[in-house]
């Protein structure tokens, strides 16, 4: 189990104290005491000390291996097991995975309740009739139906205790009419869903070559829910984007380097072309050239900087080369990556904690600062000396690593150079670093800030790089304090450590800023466009900055030019003013009011534009989200968000992601799908109706807690529009049909009972009944559930609107369910009355034999098997040999069964003995009745469908007919057209 969701390397160190113990012998007399905190679930801290030989040494995350860690770059380690079993952090983190059931199944449960009610109703009605007839069996001491010997009978039929008999009959009837409740439905559905998941797993179109990962349906009970998604809540990083960082730009000493064009910029350029066609040509050229550039320099992963001023060691000719040198040195040293030298080629690759970090080290290498070895205390570089322009080997003594954390938002290392200079090298978020610059270090602050805002507008992640030289004295003082903090066992050790680190990370000198592109995954804009056309709303929930999020929104087509943006944030002067006063209560109040007002404004804005074709996009940041999700506001916020075409929540925490998901799920009652790749998305994935995990680079945590795992965002299109639609349709059809077939069969019992004075006698032989749901009707319905498709995968992708059938649940609406049940009722009536009226009284063969109980049973059962299977045949849309085999095979198997069963000795076959061969088969009535009943029972449904396709066709009918008439070659735009206000209407096709 990979708990923190990252497959990147974590650097672990042995304590200096014990680093000398290197073989088994040295542990012979090893005695040490470990004091540590109680078991807890926090993965990112460990507080403890080890006392060995009277010396104390702090234990931290650096010394701790989580359960199931995998060793890299070393063969073995010696270790002490601190916690086991349920005390491990893995187990402490384990929460019960939420149990999810699809809406269809929940509705199915309701139907079962209804059917159970019907069952009880008809059983009680039967019991009342039974009570009346049994009570009358002895009238005034006279035996009425004397042939039943009511004077000498069991309690079941005793006229003197007719009420008790009626109650016992009620229990019998519950069993007898039990076929109304399709118990085998649950089993069949489970089986079908497992098979459906196999199809999802086996889909080649959802296999991702690069990581060798096919799609994986981790739960099988949500397949049909995939076809009903109303809202998608998507993470950004690693989901919409690749999470492979490419270093594209940097700003050093106030000069911006890097000419490549990011995807976001390209999208913006495209928008410009769209808006101002007159400037289109030059921009198109620009796009082409940048494409060409990108194509040529694509060879290095993580590095996409193209600028002739600094490439190939040319930076040494730049005016600020000292600053550039320091800048690159920071990139090469301030990290926790580990070089991995390929022994054959001598080439170096890096294993880093985050892809950004890898990009930095690679960039440093490409520009002449090749980091090639790391030991416990030293870092080794091949450096390009700017003076003599030669490569030299230098080593740096690594004194401290002040690690990155989301609270600190910066990372620093303290190193000692070969000429004994102490350097603090830092990189961090702009908001943090700019506040820590010394006065003399702010030389080009304005330009750098300008560049940073340009970069983030272009959708890039920025970090600011700074450094500082330390005095020997200052360092020693600080190091002592830091050591004390580290070894303290106090619960607030982390805070103390942070505070200590804070003391040294001051008075920095600005070097520049880096810009790393988070690349959009392949096909994301197209996929989002398709999903939007399918009527699915897409929300982005991201932890990124608002500008980055908006840019990604544009890049992936979620926000379009011409869309009205409603931005809700707390970055306004009024709030700032309140914030400065420092009164937290005041601030909260003011913020809440501000958010409420902004939401109101947004709603009135929407109202005023109601009739115009303008779409709205809502953007809200995490702080505002806190208030918007609070009790009073959540409904108006939801109302506003739902009226917008797209919603982007930025700067949102994992918890907020889950809360937003819940808000949408509960507030609208519609089906939500959350998609994400990181550990921070787990809450969201578990909260949503369906969680889809991306098996990307950020580890398996999200995929592990997801319901479906795919490798790329764009596979979502196929997962929803093809598999989701199919599965929804299949399961909906299957359940409806199941109810149909069981009602059609179950009610024939009731009709027969009405003619058997409700005595509880079944119309059929026990074995016919037992095999009904097992052999004679089960396989076709499973085939329906597994294989049926209304339209092919290609057409489902081509006409995304078809997906709305699932979202609006047209195939499993109450009217449809009741319609199918009514169809079952009609079939049962036709089967019973046509059969009995045709053949009961008169001779049913030319040799004068008359019908009896056994023959009626076989005849009716034959009709039932034919009717339900033929009903299947006319209601499915997709006939492969499998369907043919199962449907006709089931019917054939019934005949085979009755022949074989009939040849068994009469003690086994009882009422079925030779009944088909001797009595039924030679009778023309038998065959005529079968034909009559089958056709008559199918006519109502067939007529209904014929009228429906003529006068009120469903969307899939239209597509099917277009296909059969060869007109589907038209573009979908001709068939469907995006109308006003997101309303989608299908315009007519010219013939």
């Amino acid at each position: 189990m990979n708990l923190d969701g990252e497959t990147n390397l974590k650097l672990k160190h042995a304590l200096n104290l014990t680093a000398s113990l290197r073989d088994d012998d040295s542990f012979k007399h090893f005695k040490a005491v470990i004091k540590c905190e109680d078991p807890n679930e926090d993965l990112y801290s460990f507080v403890g000390t080890l006392s060995y030989h009277g010396q104390q040494s702090p234990l931290s995350l650096q010394q701790m291996l989580l359960r199931d860690s995998k060793l890299r770059n070393t063969e073995y380690v010696y270790g002490v097991v601190v916690f086991t079993g349920h005390d491990t952090k893995v187990m402490q983190n384990a929460t019960d995975p939420p149990s999810k059931r699809s809406k269809i199944e929940r509705r199915m449960d309701k139907i079962i309740y209804i059917l159970f009610g019907v069952l009880i109703l008809i059983s009680s009605v039967g019991s009342v009739f039974f009570w009346l007839s049994t009570r009358n069996d002895i009238r005034n001491g006279e035996l009425d139906r004397w042939y039943l010997r009511p004077d000498d009978t069991t309690v079941l039929f005793d006229p003197k205790r007719a009420l008790l008999a009626a109650f016992l009959h009620f229990l019998t009837a519950l069993m007898l009419y039990g076929y109304l409740i399709p118990i085998s439905l649950y089993v069949s559905i489970e089986l079908v869903k497992v098979l459906q998941s196999i199809f999802i797993n086996k889909d080649q179109e959802m296999y991702y070559e690069e990581t060798d990962k096919p799609a994986h349906a981790r739960t099988s009970n949500l397949n049909e829910e995939l076809g009903q998604i109303d809202t998608i809540l998507s993470d950004k990083t690693g989901t919409l984007t690749c999470n492979s960082m490419e270093f594209v730009k940097c700003s050093i000493a106030g000069v911006s380097y890097g000419r490549g064009m990011t995807e976001v910029e390209r999208a913006r350029a495209m928008r410009k072309i769209y808006e101002h066609p007159e400037v289109g040509d030059s921009l198109t050229n620009l796009l082409k050239t940048s494409d060409a550039e990108v194509g040529s320099s694509k060879s290095i992963k993580g590095f996409n900087l193209s600028d002739e001023r600094i490439m190939d060691g040319k930076w040494v000719r730049e005016p600020n080369r000292d600053i550039i040198e320091n800048f690159l040195r920071v990139l090469a040293l301030c990290h926790t990556a580990i070089p991995d030298v390929n022994k054959e080629s001598g080439k170096i690759s890096y294993e880093a904690e985050s892809p950004d970090e890898a990009a930095f080290v690679i960039t440093a290498r490409e520009l002449g600062f090749e980091f090639y070895e790391r030991t416990q205390t030293r870092l080794f570089l091949h450096e390009l000396d700017p003076l003599n322009r030669r490569m030299v080997n230098r080593s740096y003594e690594l004194l401290h690593v002040l690690e990155f954390s989301s609270a600190r938002k910066r990372m620093s290392v303290i190193v000692k150079t070969e000429d004994n200079k102490l350097m603090l090298l830092s990189k961090g978020a702009d908001s943090i670093i700019f506040g820590r610059l010394s006065d003399e270090g702010r030389g080009f602050e304005a330009e750098t800030k300008e560049h940073i805002s340009q970069y983030s507008e272009a959708g890039l992640r920025t970090l600011v790089v700074a450094y500082r030289e330390l005095g020997e004295k200052e360092y020693k003082l600080w190091a002592h304090e830091f050591f004390n903090a580290k070894t303290s066992l106090a619960a607030d050790r982390d805070e103390v450590l942070d505070a200590t680190a804070d003391k040294i990370e001051r008075n920095l000198i600005l070097l520049g800023a880096t810009a790393v592109e988070d690349k959009l995954q392949k096909g994301v804009p197209e996929c989002i466009d398709k999903l939007a056309k399918a009527g699915i709303k897409i929300w982005i929930l991201t932890g990124d900055k608002m500008e980055t999020a908006i840019n990604i929104g544009y890049a992936c087509g979620l926000l379009r030019q011409g869309m009205e943006r409603i931005v809700i944030s707390l970055d306004n002067p009024h709030i700032d003013a309140v914030e400065k006063q420092g009164d937290k209560e005041m601030l909260a109040k003011a913020s809440g009011e501000s958010i409420a007002r902004q939401i109101q404004d947004g709603r009135s804005q929407l109202r005023s534009f109601k009739e115009s074709p303008i779409d709205f996009g809502l953007i809200i940041d995490g702080k505002s989200l806190n208030f918007a999700l609070s009790d009073g506001l959540e409904h108006s916020f939801l109302g506003l968000a739902l009226s917008c075409v797209s919603v982007i929540c930025c700067r949102s925490s994992p918890k907020q992601k889950a809360l937003v998901t819940r808000l949408v799920k509960v507030g609208t009652g519609s089906t939500t799908l959350a998609i994400g790749d990181g550990a921070n998305d787990v809450g969201m994935l578990q909260e949503a109706d369906i969680g889809v995990g991306i098996t990307g680079v950020e580890g398996m945590q999200a995929a592990m807690s997801s319901d479906f795992a795919i490798a790329q965002f764009c596979y979502l299109e196929r997962l929803l529009l093809v598999h989701g639609h199919w599965c929804y349709r299949r399961i909906a059809m299957m359940i409806c049909y199941f109810f149909y077939k069981n009602i059609a069969f179950g009610l024939t019992f009731l009709w027969f009972e009405a003619y058997a004075s409700f005595s509880g006698q079944a119309a059929y032989n026990d074995w016919y009944m037992a095999f009904y749901n097992v052999f004679f009707t089960s396989l076709p319905v499973i085939a329906l559930g597994v294989f049926d498709q209304d339209v092919s995968a290609r057409l489902s992708l081509k006409y995304p609107l078809l997906y709305q059938e699932g979202v609006q649940n047209t195939l499993f609406s109450w009217s449809r369910i009741l319609g199918w049940m009514f169809n079952g009722f009609i079939s049962s009536v036709i089967i019973f009355y046509f059969t009995t009226n045709s053949i009961t009284l008169q001779a049913f063969r030319s040799d004068g034999h008359v019908l009896d109980y056994e023959i009626l049973g076989v005849t009716m059962y034959t009709c039932v098997v034919w009717v339900v299977n033929c009903q299947m045949a006319i209601s499915i849309n997709y006939f492969t040999w499998i369907q043919h085999f199962f449907i006709w095979g089931s019917i054939a198997f019934w005949y085979l069964f009755i022949i074989i069963y009939g040849y068994l000795p009469p003690t086994i076959s009882t009422t079925a003995y030779k009944v088909l061969v001797e009595a039924c088969a030679p009778s023309p009535f038998f065959w005529l009745v079968t034909l009559l009943v089958v056709v008559s029972a199918l006519v109502p449904y067939f007529t209904y469908r014929a009228f429906q396709t003529r006068f009120h066709p469903m969307y899939h009918d239209i597509i099917q007919i277009s296909r059969s008439e060869g007109r589907e070659k038209m573009s979908p735009a001709e068939l469907t057209e995006q109308g006003k206000d997101g309303s989608i209407s299908i315009t007519h096709i010219e013939d």
Binding site: T7, L9, R145, W146, Y147, L148, I198, N201, K202, Q204, T211, D212, I300, K301, D312, K347, I348, S349, Y350, E351, A352, A358, K537, L642, Y755, A756, S757, S759, Q761, F787, S792, Q808, N837, L841, Q842, F844, D847, G848, H849, V850, D852, L856, I882, T907, Y913, A919, S923, L928, S936, R945, T949, R950, H952, D957, I958, Q960, S964, E965, S983, S985
Partner: protein, 352 residues
């Protein structure tokens, strides 16, 4: 400086060159089955299909219906209800008492043949309101006992007609006990008509369900006598009336074969029936009828199936016509979706 050095940011993610063939690739294997691309026929309800299906049904059904009706019309059937007529007028107020007490229940009926009847003419008795399909009744028999003389003690299902003073009744159970015991003899102009009672039961019953060595024992010996008595010197396999009776009827109104008249009857003949009215249907207000019937290739007289075929066939013909007219009058192409528009208002509900 190697600018073309392949570098990987994370070795753990297992990124490899996609061009090189992988030994253990997880790529799903292609087959038409797994990719759900099996060749299939996709039936669609096009106008042509709808109309031709309806036409096909009517073309098949109408002739069958006519043939069945003609077959039924050819059958000559004489039905005579005698349950009231055969009770002397003085006893009709309390028929139950009459049937239970009277010893001489002879009764004569005269039937007129309205049409020529070719032999064989089947003689049935028809009972009404008699629940042979009652659960208690159906189960009250012992098949092993009927089949095999060694199993005569298998009487657990037969209560209360299972034994007398500890001795098993053969055949046991309510069905056998309540066997029909009216008898008929026929004569035409004082010349008796022979009734053939052989072969009125199913052959499989005679040969496999009723034993050749099983003889009635202790039958109808109790104080409460149900129906017919059996000749204890004839094995069950030859007691065809019993075999017919034991094959329980499906519905409360039923006919059972009594015998066959192996001569032709002419139109205008009068048949005198001498019948013994023994069987008590009066307690439960059941009717008794005597039926003489010929058969056609199809069976006995029944217009229902013919009418049903004609109705369904005619209905389908009308539907076919209706659809044809619809398509001719308003030749809208079915694939033309202009009629349908899905309006998605912001709430996302379908209004169509």
């Amino acid at each position: 400086m190697n600018s073309d050095a392949p570098s990987s940011s994370s070795g753990a993610a297992g990124s490899a060159d996609p061009a090189t063939p992988r030994r253990n690739s997880k790529r799903p294997k292609y087959s038409k089955f797994t990719q759900q691309e099996l060749p299939a026929c996709k039936p669609i309800l096009t106008p042509r299909w709808v109309i031709s299906s309806f036409m096909l049904v009517s073309i098949i059904f109408i002739p069958i219906g006519l043939a069945s009706l003609f077959a039924s019309k050819d059958v000559v059937e004489i039905v005579d209800r005698y349950d009231t007529e055969c009770v002397p007028p003085g006893s009709r107020n309390d028929k139950v008492k009459y049937i239970q007490s009277s010893t001489n229940n002879n009764c004569t009926r005269r039937l007129m043949v309205k049409k020529d009847m070719d032999h064989p003419i089947y003689v049935y008795y028809q009972l009404d309101n008699f629940y042979q399909n009652h659960r208690r009744y159906v189960k009250s028999r012992s098949d092993p006992q009927l089949k095999d003389e060694k199993d005569e003690n298998e009487i657990s299902d037969c209560k209360p007609e299972d034994d007398i003073n500890g001795k098993p009744i053969v055949p046991c159970g309510l069905i056998a006990w309540s066997m029909f015991n009216d008898t008929y003899s026929f004569s035409r102009t004082n010349q008796s008509l022979k009734i053939n009672k052989k072969g009125i039961s199913w052959k499989s019953d005679r040969e496999h369900k009723f034993g050749k060595k099983v003889f009635p024992k202790n039958f109808q010996n109790s104080t409460f006598i149900g129906g017919a008595k059996l000749n204890s010197s004839i094995p069950l396999s030859e007691q065809e009336d019993l075999i017919v009776w034991m094959r329980t009827a499906a519905l409360p109104t039923f006919r059972k074969l009594y015998g066959k008249i192996e001569v032709d009857l002419k139109k205008g003949d009068f048949i005198d029936v001498l019948l013994e009215n023994n069987y008590n249907t009066y307690s439960f207000n059941g009717k008794k009828k005597l039926v003489l019937s010929t058969t056609s290739w199809l069976g006995g007289k029944n217009n229902f199936i013919g009418i049903a075929y004609l109705t369904v066939g005619g209905l389908c013909f009308l539907l076919a016509m209706a659809f044809t007219i619809i398509y001719l009058v308003k030749p809208r192409r079915l694939g033309d979706p202009s009629y349908l528009s899905w309006n998605m208002n912001p709430g996302g509900r379908l209004t169509s």
